[in-house]
């Protein structure tokens, strides 16, 4: 009985939060601006990088490093979007709408609620990722022949990777809960910091040894490697290139599960601290 009740609460927290997130995301009076902001902006970001690669670094599009960078960057759009989507909810509800306290007095599953709030941004990011990849194939000559794509691996990698990013978002939501101001862009900030560490642009091998070790501890590193193998037929990093596909996905699953446990534990701790200090309904005046 109790388990069933809890499951119902979890499902409806997720569903209604996703609805709310969508209302907030799509609340643009001008659909054109909405499309520009949520789809064109991340794509433009990726293309700028490609441009720099070609012109500034004088790399050729035929260089094997190019598809490596391109796929890494296309999927990296997800990181900022999902992190922001999940962790932003705490700030938004508490500071902006004054609603976090009502969420916290309602029979919600707060994790499901936060993840639900990120669904809309994730969906929009999916469109941006897809368009970027299509552009790469059609215009830049990146070779992703559908017949050679390992679809099962792709689906598994996307599911695990998005879970990892979402739980990282829960961790950031916990940080946001117990710190007051100036945390508006924590999601994008962390996405930027991890960018170099997880092999989105360079293979880990070119990083100093200490940083490479950090990179090898991040689920995102294995996520990008798995995506490249699924789409391009091979990765690019010697550091983890020796792993079989099964081992790679296994490590991705294991590190995602570890991250999930750590994030939930941390969030619970942050929640308890906020409860003690009266931060759940705090409003920072700007």
């Amino acid at each position: 009985m109790a388990v069933q009740k809890r499951a119902q609460e979890t499902l409806r927290s997720l569903r209604v939060a996703a609805w709310l997130g969508w209302q907030i995301e799509s609340n643009w009076t001008d659909p054109f601006l909405f499309a520009i902001y949520s789809i064109a902006k991340p794509i433009a970001g990726t293309l700028i990088l490609v441009f720099m690669y070609v012109v500034v670094a004088r790399g050729g599009l035929g260089n094997p490093l190019f598809p490596y960078i391109f796929v890494g960057n296309a999927f990296y759009i997800y990181v900022g979007a999902v992190l922001m989507g999940v962790s932003w909810a705490v700030i938004d509800d508490r500071e902006h709408y004054g609603m976090l306290k009502y969420m916290y007095t309602a029979p919600l599953n707060i994790y499901a609620y936060l993840l639900g709030r990120g669904v809309a941004k994730t969906a929009i990011a999916t469109i941006a990722v897809a368009i970027t990849l299509l552009f790469g194939v059609a215009v830049l000559g990146v070779r992703i022949p559908p017949g050679e794509v390992d679809w099962a691996m792709l689906v598994a990698a996307i599911a695990l990777g998005l879970s990892a990013i979402a739980f990282l978002g829960i961790l950031l939501a916990g940080v946001t809960l117990i710190t007051a101001r100036h945390n508006y862009y924590i999601g994008e900030g962390v996405a930027g910091a991890l960018y170099l560490l997880c092999g989105a642009v360079f293979p880990l091998d070119v990083l100093p040894r200490g940083l490479a070790a950090v990179g090898r501890a991040l689920p995102l590193t294995y996520w990008l490697e798995a995506l490249r193998r699924a789409l391009l037929g091979g990765g690019g990093s010697q550091a983890i290139g020796a792993l079989s596909n099964g081992a790679l996905l296994g490590i991705l699953a294991g590190s995602t599960a570890t991250l999930a446990v750590l994030s939930v534990l941390f969030y619970r701790w942050a929640e308890r601290l906020a409860h003690r200090k009266g931060l759940l309904d705090m409003q920072t005046m700007y």
Binding site: Q8, E9, R12, S13, R15, V16, W19, L20, Q23, I24, N27, Y97, G98, M99, K101, Y102, M103, Y104, T105, A106, P107, L108, R272, H275, R276, G278, L280, D281
Partner: protein, 337 residues
């Protein structure tokens, strides 16, 4: 009465706020917002907590609604310990805070309310029917499809009020629900609260207010609270009966320079409060014996005051508060004698 009949119980409930480190350099004073509060609210009661600003009313509600941890002591809501099992408590409660304008600005009034009904697991059609009904009650029916960033603070407060009743909670916390609303709206909401309780005898409301009239008119029992302490707790009638042996007069006096010094040396005056109103001074004087009014009038004459009106009146909860605390509910003015 058994513990199971209690909707809300607190035992030595205490909350201390420590000043933040940055502010602490100036003064290291801790604020005791709640000081060993013991309350027992039965199922079916409309229970009032009456006290001035800063008395600890909001702190009490936050703890009971699982938003804030007590520093010490315990509290049970619907028989569940709020610190041990907040998730279970949340299935039984709802809360409305007055005087604030929260809400998702980009959703309409209807959508804001519907969303909450869904978080509480209400069936969608039933929710829509109740939303319509409640918006009718609070006078927002014509705004149902308006995005709430177009609404005034007062309108948002009314929507918030509707949100509290929408989910048909077993136990409802109303923190100064009529704060800042116009007289007519406040009256409508009070009538609705009373009516809701009459129609749902198994529900419980804990309502805080600093309007003594609201507590008197609405509540089955009232706890009077000041500086975190519960000073008295009983039915409004019983609280007022504690003043039965005293006589209370209201005087309006013009040309009075120093009301504070008025009754020095006048015997028989237990307490009095004074407030400036329309260019004259309004005095509420509590006498041990009705005959002492003659000495009071003599005192006013000696001070050069000019008596405009004199009226003997029934005691109110405000008088009870003044007797307990030594000052009025509103401004903090007043003096014992």
């Amino acid at each position: 009465m058994s513990w199971e009949e209690l909707s809300i119980r607190t035992e030595g409930l205490t909350r201390v706020f420590r000043p933040k480190r940055r502010e602490a350099r100036g003064q290291r004073r801790e604020i005791v917002a709640l000081d060993r509060v013991n309350l027992a609210v039965e199922r079916g009661e409309l229970f009032g907590v009456l006290g001035p600003n800063g008395a600890g009313k909001t702190t009490l509600i936050k703890i009971l609604a699982t938003l804030l941890a007590p520093t010490s002591g315990r509290a049970w809501v619907a028989g569940v310990d709020v610190s041990e099992n907040p998730w279970e408590v949340r299935r039984h409660i709802n809360m409305v805070s007055g005087g604030e304008s929260s809400g998702y600005g980009l959703l309409t009034v209807e959508e804001n309310l519907w969303m909450f009904s869904q978080f509480y697991g209400m069936q969608s059609g039933e929710a829509k029917r109740r939303i319509k009904e409640l918006l009718e009650v609070v006078g927002l029916a014509d705004r149902a499809r308006t995005k709430i960033y177009h609404l005034s603070t007062g309108m948002r407060q009314k929507m918030n009020f509707a949100r509290g009743f929408l989910t048909d909670p077993e136990i409802l916390f109303l923190d100064e629900p009529t704060l800042g609303l116009d007289v007519q709206t406040a009256r409508t909401l009070r009538a609705y609260i009373r009516d809701w309780m009459d129609r749902h005898p198994d529900r419980t409301i804990l309502l805080t207010t600093h309007y003594m009239y609201e507590a008197d008119e609405l509540c089955d029992r009232v706890a009077i609270i000041d500086r975190g302490k519960v000073l008295a707790c009983d039915t409004p009638a019983a609280l007022k009966r504690t003043l039965q042996r005293e006589a209370i007069f209201r005087l309006r006096v013009a040309a009075l320079a120093d009301p504070k010094a008025l009754f020095q040396g006048v015997t028989g005056v237990h307490r009095f409060t004074h407030a400036a109103r329309d260019g004259c001074v309004e005095l509420d004087v509590v006498l041990g014996d009705e005959n002492a009014i003659l000495a009071v009038l003599g005192g006013i004459q000696r001070a050069g005051g000019q008596l405009l009106s004199l009226e003997k009146r029934e005691p109110t909860l405000e008088d009870v508060f003044v007797r307990l605390v030594g000052r009025g509910l509103g401004s903090g003015e007043g003096a014992g004698a």
